[in-house]
Symmetry: C2
């Protein structure tokens, strides 16, 4: 597709702009509009990586423990997560998704995917292939 290698700086700048803009557009699609980004992020972590303690959630989201405590309180009041004391170390509290929490996070991801699926269907076969070929490279860069 592209033959000559363009200047590195232009390549980085264009990539950054495209990634940030698509991400912002995606974020608009969510199951519960009243839910904050922070709350949704916690549900996503629990969905993807299973039960966490409060401290683990705070570390993952790079947020203070009191702040995460408040977020978890809201989610607990809404019935989306449950707290239960850890058997081995009773200082710890395990936070897990409830059935309703699972439903909310799956619906949000479903909406975001649905928006993307619509967009993918408007692409040509070649454009879709180019996107597909880049996905694993993007994912690996994010882990850096």
């Amino acid at each position: 597709m592209t033959d000559a290698t363009p200047p590195l700086s232009a390549e980085a700048s264009q990539l950054r702009s495209a990634i940030v803009r698509l991400s912002r557009r995606l974020r608009n699609e969510r199951a519960v509009d009243s839910m904050s980004d922070g709350q949704l992020a916690v549900l996503g972590i629990l969905k993807m990586h299973g039960t966490h303690t409060l401290g683990e959630l705070a570390d993952r989201e790079r947020v203070s423990a009191p702040s995460m405590n408040r977020t978890v309180n809201c989610l607990e009041q809404d019935g989306l997560v449950s707290r239960s004391p850890d058997e081995a170390d009773r200082r710890k509290v395990n936070i897990a998704l409830t059935a309703e929490g699972i439903a909310v996070v799956e619906e949000t991801l479903r909406r975001r995917d649905a928006w993307l699926e619509d967009a993918l269907l408007e692409l040509s076969g070649d454009e879709r292939r180019r996107l597909r070929d880049a996905v694993d490279v993007i994912a690996r860069m994010a882990e850096r």
Copy 2:
């Protein structure tokens, strides 16, 4: 690279995950750590699209006018933007970047690009080409 077309749902899901994660990683790189996302977004709009009125900025960021007013107050106090009454319609106020505001937004973009440039240099030539071929597709999807 990829020959068979995978299920649309898996394709969308993997793309969403990769885009969101790389975007989050990029956001960490900024010139002034004490500056909020909202403030930086305003500087970015002014840098990219030139002078705006308060209402235009509020509309673009999908935020209320009082909220944008406060954001602009902070930027003005920090000397990053200037207010000047519109000549034609004196109800309006034009908000523009100062020299210092230009420097801050350029430094932030430079940092983000620098991080990306480092990451690009660690890729193979083939990986970089795949990324390059996808950028304009991603940019177009974001505009949808």
